[in-house]
Symmetry: C2
DNA sequence: TTATTAAAGGACTGAGAAGTCTTTTTTTTG
DNA sequence: CAAAAAAAAGACTTCTCAGTCCTTTAATAA
């Protein structure tokens, strides 16, 4: 559905939203470890988001990424558009570049309404809204560890990040 | 949304549905040219679909691909599942493999309904249904040519396929 | 002001999807 | 039966997305 990159981006923004403020910033390594995302790849994504104005960053000791109060107002779709490019979700389901309501593909009117509603939702839901969800009991943003992985986690501290 | 491969697959099945019957079969080259899909790549896709039982094929002179009457009853989702694998549309929007209604991601309940409805539709719409659409005025399955491409098309017969 | 910390930037690698080409097999028809 | 037509099969290439690593820049703090 979404590219892996925008999945990483959405989860990271929510993690940063939950764990930072102007005086308590989070580093790439921290996000990468918590969400099990490749660190250096994540660094690129966060840079894009910062350049795009969706998150803030500061360098140097005590630096890292954080959200300002206004940043909670951004719609989730903005995150997707920044990393995957605009219109990445608006394309014809059959990949036809000349598809439109006047010149539709055979499934245009079957698929269109759902796509539009989804787009509408993603345009309305803000980072703040999603963060509210995340604060609920049993709502999460990282994969659960399997029994196997838990064992490893204890036996040998994670060196991947 | 869908992989390019399943887009090719859906369009091809509809083209074959429209242009074939047991005594009038269509070849890969014909489909490839009509829909502007790379010929040899399409050949692989059609083979998968034939092995999967969604379309029929026969070798030799006069051979090619075609649909039997029963084949019109297949749901569109079957085509997607054959080429992209099952569940390709059922994954968590944030890519979490442990996401479920009991253990949801922050956008699970925002996104879920649309994904489910879409899946429902794709499971209900048959090849025959989509073919009906295709027979409507102004419903199409190939990209329109731009003015530029039309010029080329006339000047030098298309040798790509 | 120097050392340290963390992001920024850029070069490189790897995996999987997409695309190309050649040979083999099957079927039909003269 | 021989020739031709078309799919089947498989090897190979290319491209894009994802992932890795190394160097530079900026900010902080001792």
């Amino acid at each position: 559905m979404l590219s892996r990159t925008s999945q990483y981006a959405l989860r990271s923004v929510l993690f940063i939203a939950e764990n930072s403020h102007a005086r308590r910033k989070v580093g790439v390594g921290e996000v990468a470890k918590a969400l099990d995302i490749p660190k250096y790849y994540l660094a690129k994504i966060l840079r894009k988001l910062a350049v795009g104005g969706l998150i803030r960053s500061s360098k140097g000791p005590g630096g890292g990424y954080y959200l300002d109060s206004e940043d909670f107002e951004h719609a989730l779709i903005a995150i997707i558009e920044i990393v995957d490019g605009p219109d990445s979700l608006k394309k014809c389901a059959l990949g036809l570049n000349t598809c439109s309501s006047e010149h539709p593909c055979p499934i245009h009117f079957y698929i269109g309404p759902f796509r539009d509603s989804l787009l509408q939702s993603l345009s309305e839901i803000t980072v703040g809204d999603a963060l509210q969800q995340l604060k609920e009991e049993n709502v999460f943003i990282a994969n659960l560890l399997t029994a196997d992985e838990k064992k490893k986690e204890n036996g040998r501290p994670d060196e991947r990040h």
